[in-house]
Symmetry: C2
Subunit: 132 residues, 2 copies
DNA sequence: GTATATGCAAACAATTTGCACGCCT
DNA sequence: AGGCGTGCAAATTGTTTGCATATAC
């Protein structure tokens, strides 16, 4: 039903993945599109969306979401996210030891756990510094 | 800037909150709209959206998301979520003890943590039973 | 050579908004 | 009575898709 599709290795997909791996701002499709145009001027937004979906399905990137739109993350190693409710930025939290999860209960209940994400919400240091 | 707006207590908002509190399926705005029409036949979808936003801002409900659209949760006590990647349902996980979080590191770094959500992804018991 | 991926633009789906009127307080 | 909330419909926004062509293999 899925799985072994013969994928071509296109310039477009390569550029998109490179862009995503070179930033930690968890960009939107549109931001990626604008960056990609610097390398492939006539790349289309549709292609960006199509490739992001492919990369996500292949497990090479993560799709997050900011409530309004999708954001993408080139990091797939274990880390968490902090969503600032003031500036809407998403920060990486790189200290796996602050969260510990025991999935055994879920497995016992019949859930097949593929992954989990922990999303903290609140005010980031930058925003709580500049009282706005 | 926000905060003390003088809110009226409308039938519409009351019905929406009641509906949300009486289900655990984390419905979409549209589902809530259809239910609400049973009580207020000419309620509009715009009103449903407006009130969901208000209730969320007041902290009375949670806004989740299934990748494509928003889903809403009338429960605000501590619990986690399991998102089935097969049927797209969101399940409540009511066992707080399976996750433990030490926020002190974040606080030390200057983050103000208001809440956090843990979202498991995978296949739910129902879907893994019926191999589809 | 062939089929998958692309660019383009139109279509779509979810959500938001402007406006005149209605109804809570 | 006054102003926030509503219904309605149109507008907006983010994303997807159909099709002819280009290109990776």
């Amino acid at each position: 039903m899925e799985g072994n599709v013969k994928r071509r290795n296109t310039q477009q997909r390569k550029v998109i993945l490179d862009i995503l791996r070179s930033t930690d701002i968890h960009p939107t499709a549109d931001w990626i599109y604008e960056r990609a145009r610097e390398y492939i001027p006539n790349i289309s937004l549709g292609t960006v969306y199509r490739n992001l979906k492919i990369l996500r399905d292949e497990g090479l990137i993560l799709e997050l979401n900011d409530g309004k739109q999708s954001r993408f993350d080139g990091r797939i190693d274990e880390h968490f996210h902090f969503k600032c409710t003031s500036c809407n930025s998403i920060y990486d939290i790189d200290t796996p030891e602050i969260v510990s999860v025991d999935e055994s209960f879920l497995i016992k209940e019949g859930y097949q756990v593929d992954s989990y994400d922990v999303i903290f919400s609140g005010i980031c240091p930058r925003c709580s510094g500049s009282q706005n």
